[in-house]
Subunit: 284 residues, 2 copies
């Protein structure tokens, strides 16, 4: 039997709940998701349950972070299964707003995201991080979160949100949890379910490329251009259909590294069939 989970659909009920937490000095943990939950999301919920008094999971497929032609309509919506999984891990509160609740008629304010949003994903999805930053700030405020939990899988998203919260003096602590992978190394993603069996095998080359990149760098290779050339070749040989980017970069600014003399993060974004996959690896 699952513990009883509190499901909230309107802002008034959410405000009443969180005002109560505030008055009794309980800390509020937020796990913002777009649903289609997998073990990666659940690891964030686990962490929130450990670190905070009250954990609020939000499920909202945010239209404003998808551009025209992206997979907003196809994005998997599995609410019943999501709620079951959340109850199973002991999530206390789940907030599932409609788009009208988040963006009522007349809504017209947005966040112009910090500089780090312009690179990588920003080049291929120029409006994406404005949508992410705006909805995350709204969710922070709606839930009155003290601590918010994000996956390292969306590495640049974490950089953008860290800079946004610092720049706007937002009173929310950010926690970043490790990427959860399948046994064969594929990073968990709600989009993995788009892959057929062959594509699923091809998709492994993203993480293999990141591991190879780490081995090259820890083995002493420090020429950024040489490393990136090898990354791209490995992705192409592995059968990806298109590479958006494959880079080694400064872990804070995401500026690409010409010469590697400190910690870097390797990041890849590539298409397998019609599915766009991303992955990354910190290299000390």
């Amino acid at each position: 039997m699952y513990k009883k989970m509190n499901s909230i659909n309107d802002l008034h009920a959410l405000a009443q709940l969180t005002n109560g937490f505030r008055k009794s000095n309980k800390t509020i943990g937020l796990v913002p998701t777009m649903g289609a939950l997998h073990e990666g999301h659940l690891s964030l919920v686990d962490q929130a349950l450990q670190e905070t008094d009250e954990t609020i999971v939000t499920i909202f497929v945010n239209p404003s972070q998808f551009a025209a032609g992206e997979d907003l309509d196809q994005y998997p919506r599995t609410l019943e299964a999501d709620l079951e999984k959340l109850a199973e891990v002991g999530a206390q509160h789940v907030f599932v707003p409609t788009a009208d609740l988040v963006y009522p008629p007349g809504f017209s304010t947005s966040i112009t995201p910090p500089q780090v949003a312009a690179r990588l994903e920003g080049e291929f999805r120029p409006t994406h991080f404005s949508g992410v930053a705006t909805v995350v700030l709204k969710l922070f405020n709606m839930t009155r979160a003290d601590v918010a939990f994000f996956g390292q899988k969306d590495y640049q998203q974490v950089c953008v949100l860290r800079a946004m919260t610092a720049d706007l003096n937002v009173n929310v602590q950010m926690r970043v949890c490790p990427i959860v992978r399948e046994a064969d190394g594929l990073a968990l993603s709600s989009r993995n379910r788009y892959l057929d069996a062959d594509q699923r095998k091809t998709a492994l080359v993203l993480y293999q490329t990141l591991q190879h990149t780490r081995d090259l760098i820890t083995g002493g290779l420090n020429d950024g251009f040489e490393i990136v050339t090898e990354m791209r070749q490995m992705l192409i040989d592995g059968g990806v259909d298109n590479i958006d980017y494959a880079v080694v970069a400064n872990p804070q600014t995401l500026e690409t590294a010409d010469f590697i003399d400190g910690p870097v993060v390797a990041l890849v974004a590539a298409h397998v069939g019609k599915t766009r996959l991303i992955d990354n690896l910190m290299i000390q």
Copy 2:
């Protein structure tokens, strides 16, 4: 003898103070100012002291809401006199940050303000409200304000901030306090001190025009074009050097009214010499 006032200059001290208030469930009132305080500002402080447990006044001349060629450098800075006035009215806490504290190196996030920012002031000062919205959101977060107090003098600013807080689900209640005027009707403004004796007399025509506009409308005139034509003529006859706008508008959206059949707000912005003055009047 004045009550002891707590003067704060760094974010860490401010956070400690406001965290303490939060823990003891005290409400925090914010009065954000650019200094050069007059009775209008002090009426906001009075209101905050009445409505909230702890009143924080901020003094910060925000560079990002001034455009090149505006009066940032000339803007009056009268910190000693400001602190004296605040102590006199019993303000509990005053926060006076430096520009580096508000905008540290690397700062690069901003608010794209809501639609209502595009009209009137937005046409003449296109970057102004982005600067205002960004700094006010930062001050809300820095001070953990529950209630914030603004003057109706900056009518459009209030509309912008109301829409911004609603759009971003900001947990701050906005209070708007009436315009404070000199005995002869001139709205108090830190910029009035730019006026010489003759200009000071000329400046009276702004409020006289608003009063005349009210009399026209309450007398039955409902043709927006006719009213605005008369407003402009009166300002010109009164000797202003340039009119930025003179309108009657919807009090929420600030859309100009062609035909008046409900409450409106009359707003004027005009230059007297080099000094740009604004004023407004609600007409039921």
